[in-house]
Amino acid sequence: MKDFIIHKAGSRGHAENEWLSSYQTFSFSRYYHPERIQFGALRVLNDDTVAGGKGFGSHPHDNMEIISIPLEGALEHRDNLGNTGIIRKGDIQVMTTGTGVFHSEVNADPEQPVKFLQIWIFPKQLNVKPRYEQITLDRVHQVNQLQQIVSPYPEEEGCQINQDAWFSMGTFERSKTARYNARITNNGLYFFVINGSFNIEGQKLDSRDGMGIPECGPVNIEALEDNSTILIMDIPMKVDQQNM
């Protein structure tokens, strides 16, 4: 393994108001850290908690792939393309925002908070037609193994995004291992521990820690405690974009 970067959970940016608590691995909104701008095409990794009945009102996005992964609770989506839906733990939501979309994401439960990861990836192609997709995973396939949840191709498992990026998730018992290799040359790997702790190539990562490896061969991960969940993002390190 050549090089890596670790983003400890406690080092992330944090924004809080009466309805939102957001921990930000990379610079976002009013959090700016010149060494925390992006990891290749991975630009935003926000760990958000939204109070019951509250949420993000209608607002725009363009030219970004936005992936939402609920961790607890229920999130209600509406957009100006006519899409509506509620996503819960085990679901994945993807928006290709392209030429522009307005959407809202609101906690569907009036009482309980919703927790979710909000991930933004720079697109491969600019100014494409906006697109929305949500899927429900069979989480049986995440037990002690990695399940692919996002890919660039509709024929592959998971939601489709407009970038040469693949996401996988798995929940492991203590001492269980897995091995992951980037799908294409020049992709790097970003590991984000959702729960528990992992040993990744000799580095211990705890809950909500992140680790990026820009250039690597196969990477071994080992769960250090039961019910440890990890998200692996296989990301282009160079953002070459085609304008449509």
Binding site: I37, V44, H59, P60, H61, G100
Partner: protein, 101 residues
């Protein structure tokens, strides 16, 4: 601190309305948003800008022609692409720009 003068060009009128609000409510920024390259060129003939923000919808040809034309009018104008179409990245994009000058 002198305000950063921003000219933002993109084709989605609704999004550009939001971008306009974000730029002009920021204490250190001011600017104009336009939805055509012609409007951008006319605007650049009227006032000096520090930064051209390329927003969604311009084709690669339009983007190239606009950049070339504006550099003829204002050689020191810096050009940056805005991603995300909202408040999420605008602040850090501008902060990154300011680090380069």
């Amino acid at each position: 601190m002198e305000q950063l003068k921003i000219l933002a060009a993109g084709k989605n009128k609704d999004i550009m309305t939001v971008i306009d609000r974000l730029i002009n409510t920021h204490e250190n920024w001011s600017g104009v948003t336009v939805t055509t390259t012609e409007e951008a060129i006319d605007t650049a003939k009227e006032a000096r800008y520090d930064l051209l923000l390329i927003c969604a919808g311009l084709s690669s040809v339009e983007e190239k022609e606009l950049t070339e034309e504006l550099h003829t009018l204002q050689p020191n104008l810096r050009v940056m692409r805005h991603y995300g179409g909202g408040s999420g990245l605008l602040e850090s994009e501008i902060q990154s720009y300011l680090k380069t000058i």
